[in-house]
Symmetry: C2
Subunit: 338 residues, 2 copies
DNA sequence: CTGAAAGCGCTTACAG
DNA sequence: CTGAAAGCGCTTACAG
């Protein structure tokens, strides 16, 4: 590989001058600049980012640790994060935790070893003392989507409370009373919050959320399948199942179909997180859509603010209900989004 | 950050000894080893990967540049790539090209600047002189899924020819004769190959693939939509449309629905790439499934072989047809995969 | 405006 | 088995 020395030799200047030209330092003579640029061009020289990072103690790289890349919601989030980071002059390295805390910690450590400038995390299930440690250690860090109580870092997330209220109103208007939820892991904030918001919304209609109607899932399709099978075996199965993410909704659909039943005739289904395929499933699925793009962008901005010494801002954005046909025909006064 | 010096001081040895312990060099006394390990533990020391890379000239990092992370096929591929790389002791940095050659080149350059040990690429549409340059420059490189003619690096990919033949046999058996394809970009190998294999398979039944039945897409949903609209407007629209990837199939579905028509009654639909949602779409979609996991693993192994000085192997794996209901009811002698 | 020199945090021949 | 020293490729005070 050609190094700064080669460029210096070719241009007939010192490496210091080459460095200055490359970093647009003002005190370089036009003549030196021209010669350096010509040499860079002739040699196809590209600065070694590793050496630069060692020297400057910054990598211009952000780490993003997400719970599950295969979940379209997180894939999309990752995409927007990378886009915004690139716009601000940063690269991003993604670590996929697969909803496993040890794998999450592995990635966090690897990222820290590489001296990323900041860390964006959507914590997986299970507690991780590492997070608090990292934050205390002074690494700029921001939680996105999910957060961990007790770890004092900015949080960028969507609030589904209102949308869940709208969902319950929609279900109630359709005459449904026995409503169940496939919850995410209790240790994740989104897991908890969605159950609590659901319970609260039911209460407004004087409906109960009995224990048997709370299925413990882990945000993966398989758990949605298992929980739904259990719901179906109940003496009095729920009329509608609300899956706390799109993968568990997929599992629920699998289970309902495997039982020879149909949505919404035999059981209604709704999901948190909206994805393009929900328009084309049989039937189209009523879902709660998160403003994924804005979340990703806001998270990066908060993190870069920290990295660059400005004060970061926590952001909460509203999610919104998209009514389709998976819970029964929408009442005529509700706007449909097919 | 605590450095190797701090550990040396705490353990009462030189930094050289610390380094030896950390790298399991044999010539270290048990006593020194114990003291170093204790110091490492006490200080929570983690070696600076940036410094190590600069010194050893290896980063234990692989770059993966894919055409579109939002495409579930590539998301899955990326996941398996990371998994296998991790098993072999490497990290991977993903660059998302969004099917844009300039963005692809941007990522390749950034990755090279970071001195990744090897590069895995699924080239986007449009030619990129950079690729040939990189390969000639001596950076270990492997193409996965797609490849570029004229760039002499190992290729790990699926061969869809046989599965496409099966698909055409299936369509023919169902009585369909007017078959159309939504092709990928002509400059991508997968774009071309799928059209050619389709044309060839049709020929075996003495069927033609007229120009108007070849829609030019770009592997994105929007193009599938546009092409399908054009097909529908034809005096004699095709009976079945075969989309060369799953996103264009999504677009096709959008267009068919928007026209108030139904699959397969009004138009059949099949797709290259299989995804979990295809089981639940209306109707379930007949698709050609790639062995994504094996592709990802084989690609990483080939690349790591190059990186570590062994001779790498190109691999071609067969894709297979999964018959569902989107082209009409399957004949009874064909195994159905709902 | 310019260059010589120090130093970022490591690893590794070299000498003992 | 151990340490002092060189050096990876940069950047940046410092002196001129």
């Amino acid at each position: 590989m050609t190094s700064i020395k080669d460029v210096a030799a070719q241009a007939g200047v010192s490496v210091a001058t080459v460095s200055r030209v490359l970093n647009s330092h003002p005190s370089v003579s036009p003549d030196a600049r021209t010669r350096v640029l010509a040499a860079v061009d002739a040699l196809g020289y590209r600065p070694n980012a590793v050496a630069r990072s060692l020297r400057t103690d910054q990598t211009r790289t952000l780490g993003l640790v997400i719970s599950d890349v295969l979940n379209p919601y997180f894939t999309e989030l990752a995409r927007f994060v990378e886009e915004e980071a690139r716009a601000l002059g940063y690269s991003v390295i993604i670590g996929n935790a697969d909803e496993r805390p040890e794998l999450q910690d592995h990635h966090v450590r690897t990222l820290l070893d590489r001296r990323i400038d900041g860390l964006l995390v959507s914590p997986a299930d299970g507690d991780s003392p590492l997070m608090a440690e990292v934050s205390r250690g002074g690494t700029p860090m921001v939680f996105v989507d999910r957060w961990m109580p007790g770890v004092d870092v900015p949080v960028v997330r969507a609030d589904g409370r209102h949308a869940i209220r709208d969902l319950v109103a929609h279900l109630h208007a359709l005459g449904h009373r026995r409503l169940a939820i496939i919850a995410g892991p209790a240790a994740t904030t989104t897991g908890n919050e969605r159950v609590e918001a659901f319970r609260e919304a039911l209460r407004a209609y004087e409906l109960d959320l009995p224990e048997v109607y709370i299925g413990q899932g882990d945000f993966q399709a398989d758990s949605g399948r298992r929980v739904t099978e259990r719901f179906l075996a109940l003496p009095e199965p729920p009329e509608v199942v609300f899956a706390a993410d799109n993968l568990m909704a997929l599992g629920a659909l699998d289970a309902i179909r495997a039982a020879g039943l149909r949505v919404p005739r035999d059981m209604g289904l709704a999901a948190f997180d909206d994805i393009p395929w929900f328009v084309h499933t049989d039937p189209p699925i009523t879902a709660i859509a998160q403003p994924t793009g804005e979340l990703g962008r806001a998270a990066v901005r908060a993190l870069v603010d920290m990295v660059e010494g400005r004060s970061p801002q926590s952001v909460t954005l509203p999610a919104r209900l998209v009514v389709r046909r998976s819970c029964g025909e929408p009442a005529s006064d509700q706007r449909s989004n097919l």
